[in-house]
């Protein structure tokens, strides 16, 4: 090995030394030799002329040795590359079918593989784009019964840890909110806000492209700076990259703020969609551990591991009671409070890891299928051309030259495949298969770059060369004599075994992917037909956020009257039959509301139950098609006394142990305050709220009335402010976005309608994740099936064509045609069975990795396994039957004519 390496290096070195110079040195050396020999001859007594002639004769043909020496240096083979490439191109042109098949198969496989591979690498493996990313960790706060992935902190634990912990050089927090509107200028705009602790910026090494960063003192409400940072994107989009933006006050529906700096687009923390960065305040005046929402990220000190940091924080946790006596140790213990410390990268990508690993496996499979098929084509072709090769060899072509010719042919085909591979990779990376960073974190960091092109080309060259080499193993480099003799009889055994192996392998992969497609297909079907508890049908939705502040809509009365007027305007539009409002609507993926702590008003022995509160209009249930199970919907006067609430069936059962609770009292518990009583007036069906696969979410509904039922302007009858709400509009003709914006602008120019969507779209989005994964696997599965069928067919057909002579002799000797057909069929089917057994075993072991994506289907569901196997048997039967029938129909006279 080292020897080959050195030889190769020597050749490369000499290549650079320049051929001319080398030739000149050689000539000089030879000339000296002849001169010295001449001198020697003269010394022996020859005449000058004779001596020189004798020297030349003895040396032999100088030109020949010159060439041999050059050959020994390996320069000739480098020289021949150009000639071989030309030869390869000629061969490629001569076999357009073969070349096209190889180019397209390899191109698609390579393009898709590089595309998906770049995504998987960029999201799962590449370092986060910050200074010393290995030191960044996400600090989670976990309690019993919290949803997986819900590890956000209450303000007090962050405050406590930031002051007491020694493991971190910085501990930061943020909250993202999507219900802020920019109200300056002509058109209001919904913006995404990140409230961050100012040390976030120094911790991550952010540098403003304009102005300065936030300061520690900015977190105080009384600070007259009222500073914010804006993103480069917002600065360019809304303010035309105007440098005078610094120190300008922006009108925001929660009060005006002053811009102190612009952060570059490359700073995509905590999410690339963030438009404005607020300095976060950490309120600890009323310490609570149930009001949570702070995402805590820290930078570990040198030498501190996540495990030691977690140990320190968990030890610090009980001492929070020393700082905040209202939070007792007993409370912490009862809720099972504990802290987790995870590397930031792992924490960021955790939710999508199973899908991405699946995608990564798909990359491998796609590339594997493409390469095995191309290798098969190559093998088939070299086998056909093996006589040609044998003749070339016997005429004295060197093996090195032959190897070179094969490799170069492979490389030329590989390079040709980049014509397909590059657009395929570019397409994969620009569409990202329809995913956005909403579904896959860090996806915005992935794009089609020059290095992608380099990767595609490098892979194409290596794969092409490797395939040429594999093709070479089939040439007559060994057993030349056998090959010449065996000219047209049975293919060699090793060759057939290699091909059989490849085909069995393809059958196995095809089966595995078919099973996976089946499982995901049924999941999708189940999701699509899941009882979601409402009627998505003909409806549109949009979000409306009302401005805060003195001339805003902070009170219930003001919000309610705005909504009432807007509903009236909308209902007056032609074609609209009903307009309903809710703080959150199912499957919208936004408009999340805080959880409430609820308890039965007459039976306090039962514990409290957490559920989200939703402020809705009386017609919400009929508009959404949510069935009323008992009692009534809201009506005028419901806000007086103990205000009316409606419970979903599941919530009623959780709080009271029964759903027959109309007329009973439910208490909303707020720490350090007396419980607030509400009267249950109705029970409605449960709905799937967040994602369909998460199941039904218990929900408490508060009334959103047209006014406050005479309770006074500042009354707060329900604990949810109806300021950020979703509208649902039904009717034969739905208003256009332009109409909506127009009507809103007439009512209050600061209020935009955002997230306008049809309910059908929301529903499609909710099933998109499973649908897309299913599609990807189905594409891979169907192409694997197709390739396996082609593989089975070509192997069997090839075996038949190689045995024509044998078959015709057998037939001539009286064998029944059926027996011959059966023999071929049996051979082919043995192959398929082998692949099928391997595929079933692999599928049995591998499908459990799909569990995260399956919905109400077991990973080893017998139906999917049986159907996939049956399908595969059916198509491979056809693939073997066709050549078998041909074998049975060989006319016995063929042998007399042939060869």
């Amino acid at each position: 090995m080292r020897y080959h390496l050195r030889t190769a290096l020597a050749r490369v070195r000499e290549l650079f030394r320049g051929r001319d110079r080398m030739a000149a040195e050689q000539q000089e050396e030879f000339a000296l030799h002849i001169e010295m020999e001449t001198a020697e001859n003269v010394r022996r007594g020859m005449t000058e002329a004779d001596a020189r002639r004798a020297a030349l004769v003895r040396f032999g043909g100088a030109q020949r040795y010159h060439e041999e020496t050059i050959e020994a240096r390996g320069i000739a083979s480098v020289d021949n590359i150009v000639r071989d490439a030309r030869f390869a191109l000629r061969r490629v042109r001569r076999a357009p079918g073969f070349s096209a098949a190889v180019t397209i198969t390899l191109g698609i496989g390579l393009g898709v593989a590089v595309g998906i591979g770049s995504i998987v690498y960029g999201v799962l493996l590449r370092d986060l784009p910050y200074d010393r990313p290995d030191q960044l960790v996400r600090v989670g706060f976990l309690t019993n019964g919290a949803a997986p992935g819900d590890d956000v902190h209450p303000s007090v634990t962050y405050y406590h840890f930031a002051l007491s912990s020694r493991s971190f050089s910085a501990l930061s927090e943020y909250i993202i909110s999507e219900d802020y509107n920019l109200t300056d200028g002509d058109t209001p705009e919904r913006v995404t806000i990140a409230s961050i602790s100012p040390n976030t910026l120094t911790m991550l090494g952010a540098r403003p492209i304009l102005g300065s960063l936030l300061e520690q003192g900015d977190t105080s409400y009384s600070n007259p700076r009222s500073a914010i940072l804006i993103s480069e994107r917002l600065w360019r989009r809304r303010y035309g990259a105007d440098p005078s933006i610094i120190s300008r006050r922006l009108e925001i529906n929660r009060g005006s703020r002053r811009v102190v700096g612009v952060l570059p687009a490359s700073f995509a923390y905590p999410a690339p969609s963030v438009d404005i960065f607020y300095p976060a305040t950490v309120p600890v005046k009323q310490p609570q551990i149930s009001a949570r929402g702070y995402v805590v990220v820290g930078r570990l000190r040198d030498g501190v591991t996540p495990a030691t940091a977690a140990a320190e924080l968990n030890a610090l946790l009980p001492r929070i009671s020393d700082r905040f006596p209202t939070i007792t140790r007993e409370m912490l213990e009862r809720s099972g409070a504990r802290v987790s410390v995870t590397p930031l990268k792992a924490a960021t990508v955790a939710p999508v890891r199973p899908q991405l690993i699946l995608l990564g496996v798909l990359v491998g499979v796609v590339l594997l299928i493409a390469t095995t098929n191309v290798v098969n084509l190559f093998l088939l072709r070299t086998e056909r051309g093996s006589q040609e090769t044998a003749i070339a060899l016997s005429l004295g072509a060197s093996r090195l030259a032959l190897t070179q010719r094969f490799v170069i042919e492979g490389v030329v085909l590989g390079l040709a495949s980049t014509v397909v591979a590059l657009p395929a990779a570019a397409l994969a990376l620009s569409t990202k298969f329809g995913f956005t960073e909403r579904e896959i974190p860090r996806l915005h960091e992935v794009s089609f770059t020059p290095s992608t092109i380099a990767l595609v080309v490098a892979c194409a060259v290596v794969l092409g060369g490797a395939m040429g080499l594999i093709g070479l193993t089939r040439t007559g480099l060994s057993g030349l004599f056998d090959r010449l003799r065996a000219a047209r009889s049975t293919p060699s055994r090793a060759w057939r075994r290699a091909q059989d192996g490849l085909v069995a392998f393809q059958v196995a992969i095809a089966l595995l992917l078919l099973v996976a497609t089946g499982l995901l297909g049924r999941s999708f079907w189940n999701l699509h037909n899941a009882k979601i508890g409402f009627e998505p049908g003909q409806a549109m939705t949009f979000q409306v956020s009302l401005p805060w502040g003195e001339d805003g809509y902070v009170s219930y009365a003001k919000s309610a009257s705005f909504h009432a007027r807007f509903v009236d305007r909308l209902t007056a539009l032609p074609g609209v039959t009903s307009v309903a409002i809710a703080s959150r609507i199912p499957l919208a993926g936004h408009g999340r509301t805080a959880s409430l702590d609820l308890q039965s008003g007459d039976d306090q022995s039962r514990g409290s139950v957490q559920a989200p509160g939703n402020c809705v209009t009386a017609n919400y249930f009929s508009t959404m098609g949510i069935p009323l199970r008992a009692g009534r919907t809201f009506q005028s006067g419901d806000l007086r006394g103990a205000p009316a609430v409606i419970l979903s069936e599941r919530l009623a059962t959780r709080i009271f142990g029964t759903s027959d609770v109309v007329g009973r009292i439910v208490n909303a518990l707020v720490q350090n305050e007396p419980p607030r009583p509400f009267t249950v007036v109705g029970i409605v069906g449960d709905v799937r709220s967040e994602r369909i696969e998460d199941g039904e979410v218990p929900m408490l509904y508060f009334p959103l009335q047209r006014d406050v039922d005479g309770l006074g302007e500042e009354a707060r009858p329900v604990p949810v402010r109806p300021m950020d709400v979703q509208y649902v509009v039904r009717g034969a003709q739905l208003p256009s976005p332009v109409t909506l914006q127009h009507v809103l602008k007439e009512m209050d120019h600061r209020v935009p309608a955002t997230s306008i969507a049809s309910y059908a779209d929301l529903f499609a989005n909710a099933t998109a994740r499973v649908r897309l994964t299913m599609l990807l696997i189905a594409v891979a599965g169907v192409s694997a099936l197709l390739l396996a069928v082609i593989g089975v067919y070509s192997v069997v057909a090839y075996a038949v064509s190689g045995r024509v002579r044998e078959f015709s002799i057998r037939l001539a000797l009286g064998a029944a045609p059926g027996r011959i057909g059966g023999m071929v069929f049996g051979d082919g089917f043995k192959l398929v069975t082998l692949g099928m057994v391997a595929g079933l075993a692999a599928a049995f072991g591998a499908t459990r990795f799909l569990r995260a994506l399956l919905y109400e289907v077991e990973p080893t569901s017998a139906v999917e396994f049986a159907v996939a196997t049956a399908l595969l048997i059916l198509v491979t039967l056809v693939a073997t039957f066709v050549p078998a029938r041909r074998a049975a129909r060989i006319p016995p006279a063929t042998v007399l004519r042939g060869d």
């Binding site: 050195r6 050689q26 000089e28 003895r58 032999g60």
Partner: protein
Amino acid sequence: MAKPTSNEQVLQGTLDLLILKTLSLAPMHGWGLTHRIEQLSQDVLQVGQGSIYPALVRLEQRGWIDTEWRVTENSRRAKYYRLTTAGRRALGQELASWNRFVGAVGLVLAAEADA
């Protein structure tokens, strides 16, 4: 090709060994090498003079010999060949294998007809 007279053609495959051995005595240029081999073999072995150069290139590529342009005693520029450490090791191996070969041939030739 130079016709063998009463002399022996160098046996195929032994040229490398002869070159390595001769160079182990002293670095020298191509003509010197052929001359020295003939001299040492008392003119029995005739090296195909031109064929020594391809062999030298092969050995150089294997890293067994090094080259260097130097000035001869008659003040001519000439390419000198010198044995490397790897070459010295290779010479030992080649020698051992040659000796084994010669011994084996000797054994065969010395065999006497059995009854």
